[in-house]
């Protein structure tokens, strides 16, 4: 069974440009999460989808970030326009349900460098 897959694995863009990150969750997982880790900091939660609905988007830093999950399958996270402080690794994760103790499976991450 395929795990959580993310694309691209690495991206280098200039400040002001747009980048779109894609995540394919494990098949059948209704819950999809986005996290990010910037240099020297801890991993931080961005948002949580249940199917195509945003269940919790309390971690989204500002309106330059737009996450979508049309059709409740794959998700995209767009950063527009990108700023230097957006550099870091963006993790996507999925789980079958959102209950306590349910395993959350992480992808390998998308490394973003804004120059």
């Amino acid at each position: 069974e395929a795990g959580v897959t993310q694309f691209p694995s690495h991206s280098v863009i200039e400040k002001g440009q747009t980048v779109t990150l894609r995540c394919d969750p494990i098949s059948g997982h209704d819950n999809l999460y986005w996290y990010r880790r910037v240099m020297g900091k801890e991993i931080k939660f961005l948002l949580h989808f249940v199917k195509e609905s945003k269940q919790d988007e309390s971690g989204m830093p500002n309106n330059r970030f737009l996450a979508e999950r049309t059709g409740g399958t794959y998700s995209t996270l767009k950063v527009q326009p990108a700023e230097l402080e957006d550099s870091g690794v963006y993790f996507c994760a999925s789980s079958q349900d959102g209950l306590v103790g349910n395993t959350i499976y992480f992808g390998e991450g998308s490394w973003l460098t804004v120059v």
Partner: protein, 114 residues
């Protein structure tokens, strides 16, 4: 803002030694998880603890959740080079947020030398 303070940040030990990693907060968590992450990969869940005072064992790894649900520890007995990696604790806030709204510690980078 809820924080999880993880210590130590770095740990370098010889094969066969024991070690303990700590995760502390002033906030109460409804559950706490421990993850292990290797370079170039995402975190992999090791265990979830839910009840205050709970102890869970996974082979040579022992996880404990504090009675007040504010802290946790990971103890490794007779560490092996294969245990090398980044260990992360992550908690779910007691009030509000989804189960995936995890608050992570910064991690403990463990290196076990043969």
């Amino acid at each position: 803002t809820q924080l999880l303070e993880q210590s130590p940040q770095f740990l370098s030990i010889q094969e066969g030694e024991n070690l303990t990693v700590y995760c502390n907060s002033s906030s109460v968590f409804s559950s706490l998880q421990w993850y292990r992450q290797e370079p170039g990969e995402g975190p992999v869940l090791l265990v979830t603890v839910v009840t205050g005072g709970e102890v869970k064992k996974l082979k040579r790894l022992t996880f404990q959740f504090g009675d007040a649900r504010k802290d946790s520890s990971l103890h490794i007995t007779a560490a092996q080079p294969g245990d090398t990696g980044l260990y992360l604790c992550a908690g779910v806030a007691f009030y509000g947020g989804s189960q995936g709204n995890l608050i992570f510690g910064k991690g403990t980078k463990l290196s076990v030398k043969p």
